[in-house]
């Protein structure tokens, strides 16, 4: 039997597959899939009908799944070896530049205590000023950029530590 841990948003599901038989969270269901092309388009076939899905890999074990009325990032982890679930690493305290730009303002320094939603850095990109706010209350661990600096997509700007 093959086991898969699926995570969507904050919700976790366990899917088990053996031959033609499928269980979700321990309950056996009738489900099968039918590929519509080689590019991630397929149908899920259930008792009550068929539904079209599109799946596209984003990074290791993470897929963007699109279907009528829903588009979600889905983590699918096959149970590997001893059934140990690989932790999805999520660096929640890192404020990264989502697009290239120039740092227009840095409003915090290392060691500062910040409130949830407090503005940390202002980035200029596409002739717009974008404010980057603290996703939670915490302490500034590191400031990685300075005013006037160019940043690339994905560059870390501020490292925050959540207040325990």
């Amino acid at each position: 039997m093959d086991k898969y841990h699926v995570t969507i948003g904050g919700k976790e599901y366990q899917v088990e597959i053996e031959g033609e038989r499928v269980w979700i969270d321990g309950n056996e269901v009738y489900a099968g899939i039918h590929f519509l092309n080689d590019d991630g388009l397929f149908m899920l076939e259930r008792d009550e009908g068929k539904r079209e899905f599109h799946i596209k890999p984003r990074e290791e074990d993470v897929y963007q799944v699109t279907t009528r009325g829903l588009q979600v990032d889905t983590v699918v982890q096959p149970e590997r070896g001893h059934g140990k679930k690989r932790e999805v690493k999520k660096d929640e305290g890192s404020i990264n530049a989502p697009i290239p730009g120039v740092v227009s303002q840095v409003l915090v320094t290392a060691g500062d205590a910040v409130d949830n939603n407090q503005v940390l850095v202002v980035l200029e990109s596409m002739k717009m000023l974008m404010e980057f706010r603290a996703p939670f209350a915490g302490t500034v661990e590191k400031v990685l950029v300075s005013k006037g600096q160019n940043v690339e997509k994905g560059d870390g700007m501020v490292a925050l530590k959540r207040t325990e």
């Binding site: 597959i17 499928v22 279907t67 009528r68 989502p98």
Partner: protein, 497 residues
Amino acid sequence: MKILIANRGEIAVRIMRACRDLGYTSVAVYSDRDREALHTRYADEAVYIGPTPASQSYLNIDAVLAAARKTKADAIHPGYGFLSENPLFAQKVEKAGIIFIGPSPEAIALTGDKLEARKIAAQAGVPVLPGSEFSLADGGVPKEIGTDIGYPVLVKAVSGGGGRGIRLADSDEELLRMVGSASQEAELAFGDDKVYIEKFVRPARHIEVQILGDGNGNILVIGERECSIQRRHQKLIEEAPAPGLDKEVRARLYEAARQVGLALNYRSLGTVEFLLAENQNFYFIEVNPRIQVEHPITELVTGIDLVNTQILLAASGCLTLQQDQIQMRGTAIEARVIAEDPDQSFMPTSGQVSYLKIPSGSGIRVDSALYQGMYISTDYDSLIAKLIVWGEDRATAIRRMLGALEEFNIAGLTTDLGYLRDIVRSEAFLSGQVDTMYLESFQTTDSSEDEEKLLKETALAAALFIHNKLKQTAARVTREANQWRTAAWREQMVGFY
């Protein structure tokens, strides 16, 4: 007649369709990034005008004019954004003996100076908001001005537009800071750091009136649009007519818009924007001297093709339409599909469209320049499609919009499609009770039972897909490993045939 479209994206394609309708030849201009763009392929002719950054291509007046001369274009349509509100461009186009499909350069200059536009409206007897009658230089905020007008106040760029260079201030201290940041952003976006302040009315609805003028003192009013669903002064959902608008207030709004149009001796399509306060008083905000992003909703409720009409007017100089021929029927709603991530404070997203499903059916229209395989970059505006629906009444239009939003699938990058759906099915939107601050406090609702079920289906589908792919890969590896044996076996078998 040959028309050069000095724009890109959905609006360029929209205007080219109008050209096709009218039997005119269309000319596209394109940058490096847009070599394969839909508008480049859709036009009858296409001219390269420069590198990807807009400042070197779509904003390059000389390059656009050279393209027009090279192709011997009779007219230029500027679309919205880019050079559409640049009086110098309009002037140069006309000087080159080419028809500018839009207002006169003088009217563009007047409406572009937001303080000047306020004055014109006030002189025409149209109410304007209390505010400064002079522009504030960076840092030089007169003392007491905020208190005189009464907080909260909005700081706005004199040369503003598109929601840029606007800040809200609640106190003297905040006002100083916001004047600094607004003027900085204004300098970046418009090359002019001048700002002014205006009283901030809350709650208020944003209602705009479509006008069409012939430049000879004739102004037609082509209905209104409700555009209160905005996020940081960027419209997301628009509707025509404005739901629940009092008949008498509507008539007064139309008259005010007409007066502004007359004062400007307006030519071509334009939009007069107003704020409607709770007490039903309204105030002039500004004039948008161009085709508006949300023009299709007016087209669907009036049955008038605004772009065709605009082009024909520019070609002939006279209006064929009469005010009493203009009526609104049913409700139309537009939702803007943008390449931004609502979960990441609306950061622009990019990526290749790996799967695309565009809704269709009765009463559904999609204006876009999307195609499967297209790479969406952050080089230009984030608007990638407009979904517009029409229904014989508001409830029908909303149901149609919800169905169409479900059907609209774009994979490969994150968009606001889910967020749009959450807004449209929210209580306040359904009852038509929204104001311009609605989205500032808008929270997406917790997932319903149906959604729980759909998430479970999705988990199942994803796991089955991955399972099948893993098995296929495993089978292929085994097959390849066995190939040499199979080959040897086949050779042995040959003798039997």
